[in-house]
Amino acid sequence: MVTDDNISYSDYSIDEKYTVKATNLVKRFGNLIAVNNLTFKVRKGEIFGLLGPNGAGKTTTVKMILGLLEPDEGEIKVFDLHPEKDEIEVKKRVGYVSEEPLIYRSMTARQLFNFVGSLRNLDPEETSQKLYSLLESFEALPYYDKLIATLSRGNKQKMQVIASLIHDPDLLIMDEPLTGLDAKSAKVLKEILEMHKEKGGSVILSTHILEIAEELCDRIAIIDHGRLIALGTVEELSHLANKVGADLEDIFLRLTNQDESVDKIVEKLRKSMKNGKIVKK
């Protein structure tokens, strides 16, 4: 059994230290168990990484936290609220970046932010200023009046990220937020996440890219096949993997039992590459 600290999970007293508490989450899609008995807590003022290979169940978990999916078993509390029952209260305080930027194709960014601002009932002056500086720092100002359908993948992603930030959320839930962003914008986003953390906000960052997790996350939950395999800081994880001083890649592969298979795959690849020499005609 993997635990994240010594506090017992049955303890649901109003606990200001935690933003999200997930207990024994299970989510099935037909026969497939996408999330299997997952338990973790996200502290205030930390960047919490959900790390796992493709199909591990990261997106599914994140959607349950947002109340977009209903867990089959287990319980989630976000700010001590029930994400489905108290949906509106929760969403007021959460910013979400989804895996795919499914934002209205036939609106301009301007219309989109008017829409979001209206539904969130934001203060126009304050929001405009904030939006301006966000657009500027992501170099997205030239696209403000462009139709979203015509934006590139990265620029759509920027709009999505900005839309998740303009209301000063307490909790940011970001599912692969750096997908499609160029180096500079990725750096900007990382800085924003750090700033958010310093202000005492929490971030849940789902990713399968180890470097990002290692660089940004205070604690990392490694998930594979829906199960929590390990949870802790990079240091703690390396301890768990019996590989002190190892980098996250080794730890990750070791913990997900992929280190041997990777060796084998590489070996195979080598052989086949040798056979198929590149010959100049």
């Binding site: 949906e87 959460v94 499914l102 008017n114 934001l122 301006y132 015509t150």
Partner: protein, 590 residues
């Protein structure tokens, strides 16, 4: 010699493998045009294709079938033309003596020509929607990564287009000789084997030339369409309105076409007997028309041969039809060459799509967020989505176009009213109202499904969302319903009808809104609330069908109530509204 043959063989196999390759390019193009015209259905369509990739090819298959069906259906025109001419000529027709020969020539030729022309229209109407996607350079981006020579890629674009209309082309070539053969067969005693052979042979030649001409025209129009349909970055609202207008014109013209074909086929023998022009006038027309390469020269030549020397043809007409056909061949050749060059160019054009002109407008963008009430925000968003979404525009415009069109075409004969009577006519109108109401219901649901990321992360009260959709139930459908009433304008019961329609009027939005709620009940029931989006998608079709039935049954129940008297209808409407407000508050609490 052997070498030459070999290289030719090589070329053939190369062409064959290219044709095989064109299959995937073709699929790609269909997918592209489907996605491009899907508007707010974009993600849904992708999801559906993911589940069942076969649906990509099923649509063009249906189109191919439909086009072929209509082309075969058109065969009736030359068959009837030939049999009518023969029956008039061989005294089966009593008033034969009063019909001038030149008039028969004129009508017979116009009929045969109209066949050729209609063939082209049918091809355009049923093929263009499928073929304009072939002109997007995007679809060639993948083959361009393959080790193919530039020439081959160019050939590939040509082959892909041919693949797109292969079946139609085949039918188009075969149908005219087939029609002529049937026409001869019906009058078998009148034709010698030699004439039979000549007639079929000539019609085959004409048919081949015309088919290639049609091919060229379709390429040309498809290209123009693809330019119009391609999403323009800056004036997208304008371009989607252009798209809507094109599609509308397209629909109207196709309906008109079908209408005229029907009339023409019904009334062919009458054309011969209703003599409108004198013999000299007809002769003049014959001489002039026969020189016009398309569609008349071919039509005249067929008529000349089909009358089998029993009619007098002026030498000018004969000469005209031959010269015209010759010109037509040249014209076809030029057009075909031109269209091939268009096709070849397609693969070479750099994809302009989605190429952002980055950092182009560096001038200060003013960022000012306008905050309104959620209700207003929803309405604004919906309008901006609808105005840029061809399918949605159609959903809101079509319900009005159809009754207008139906009334225009029916106003003279009043077929609907005379054949079915008042009640049955009204019930069929109600059926139509139910259908369009449900179309609008699905349309306004689709608006929601384009921005999952945004809507799933912001605090949305379904109540506001629903409220923003209500105006749609009071606009298009009511207008369409009122227009339908003009159907009864010729009837002496019209004043009564109008009174009834007005009393019945409130029932229509009531049925629509309750159907909308019912659909949400089936599709969007979550644990703690109802949502507009289609979440519970199992048994999707059955659920759609049931919700449609719901609307229809509510509407029919009101008709039932009206049999008790107008007062019952009125009371029913009031009770139902109260019930609906109750349901609204229950399903979508504050």
């Amino acid at each position: 010699m052997v070498k030459l043959l070999k290289s030719k063989g090589m070329k053939m196999s190369n062409l064959l493998s290219l044709y095989k390759l064109s299959k995937s390019v073709y699929r790609e193009s269909i997918l592209y045009s489907q996605l491009e015209s899907s508007g707010s259905n974009y993600t849904k369509l992708l999801e559906r294709i993911g589940k069942n990739p076969k649906i990509i090819s099923s649509q063009p298959k249906v189109m191919k079938f439909l086009t072929s069906f209509y082309i075969i259906f058109l065969t009736i025109i030359p068959v009837r033309a030939i049999t009518s001419i023969n029956s008039i000529l061989h005294n089966n027709f009593p008033s034969h003596t009063q019909i001038p020969q030149q008039w028969i020539v004129l009508i017979g030729s116009i009929l045969n020509s109209s066949f050729l022309l209609l063939e082209l229209f049918v091809l355009i109407i049923f093929s263009i929607m499928m073929t304009w996607g072939l002109f997007s350079p995007q679809i060639y981006s993948w083959p361009q990564t393959l080790p193919l020579r530039k020439k081959d890629i160019e050939k590939l674009s040509l082959l892909t287009f041919i693949r797109g209309i292969n079946v139609q082309l085949l039918f188009m070539i075969l149908v005219l000789p087939l029609g002529i053969a049937i026409g001869i067969f019906i009058n078998i005693t009148l034709y010698s084997p030699k004439t039979t052979f000549l007639l079929i042979f000539v019609s085959l030649i004409i048919s081949i030339i015309t088919s290639f001409f049609n091919l060229g025209v379709v390429v040309f129009i498809s290209k123009k369409m693809s330019i119009l349909m391609e999403e323009k970055e800056d004036n997208s609202k304008r371009s989607s309105i252009i798209k809507a207008i094109i599609t509308l014109l397209y629909l109207i013209s196709s309906m008109t076409l079908m209408y005229f074909i029907q009339i023409a086929i019904d009334k062919i023998p009458n054309f011969f007997t209703k003599v409108l022009l004198s013999s000299e006038q007809s002769l003049l027309f014959n001489n002039i028309l026969s020189f016009i390469p398309f569609p008349f020269s071919g039509g005249y030549l067929i008529t000349i041969l089909a009358t089998n020397h029993s009619l007098y043809f002026s030498p000018i007409t004969i000469l005209g039809s031959i010269i015209g056909l010759f010109l037509f061949t040249i014209l076809t050749y030029i057009l075909l060459k031109y269209s091939v060059s268009i096709l070849l160019k397609t693969s070479r054009t750099k994809s302009s799509f989605k190429k952002e002109k980055e950092k182009e407008n560096l001038q200060e963008t003013s960022v000012q967020v306008n905050v309104t009430s959620p209700l207003k925000a929803f309405i604004k968003r919906d309008l901006s989505i609808i105005s840029r979404d061809l399918q949605l525009i159609m959903v809101f415009v079509m319900p009005i176009i159809i009754p207008i069109f139906a009334i225009i075409t029916d106003i003279e004969d009043n077929v609907l009213l005379n054949e079915y009577g008042l009640t049955a006519s009204f019930i069929s109108i109600i059926f139509y109202v139910a259908l369009t109401t449900y179309m609008i219901i699905t349309g306004i649901t689709n608006i929601e499904s384009g921005g999952e990321t945004i809507t799933s992360s912001i605090p949305i009260k379904t109540r506001d969302q629903i409220k923003s959709k209500l105006p749609y139930f009071f606009s298009t459908i009511l207008l369409a319903y009122l227009i339908w009433n003009l159907f009864f304008i010729n009837s002496e019961l019209f004043p009564k009808m109008i009174t009834f329609s007005l009393i019945y009027l409130p029932a229509i939005p009531l049925a629509g809104i309750s159907g909308f709620f019912f659909k949400i009940f089936l599709f969007g029931k979550l644990k703690y609330k109802y949502v507009v989006e289609e979440i519970k998608t199992e048994h999707r079709l059955a659920k759609h069908f049931v919700s449609f039935l719901f609307v229809l049954i509510v509407l029919l129940l009101y008709i039932g109530l009206s049999f008790l008297g107008y007062w019952a209808l009125g009371i029913g409407e009031i009770v139902y509204s109260i019930l609906l407000i109750f349901v609204f508050n229950y399903m979508f609490p504050k």
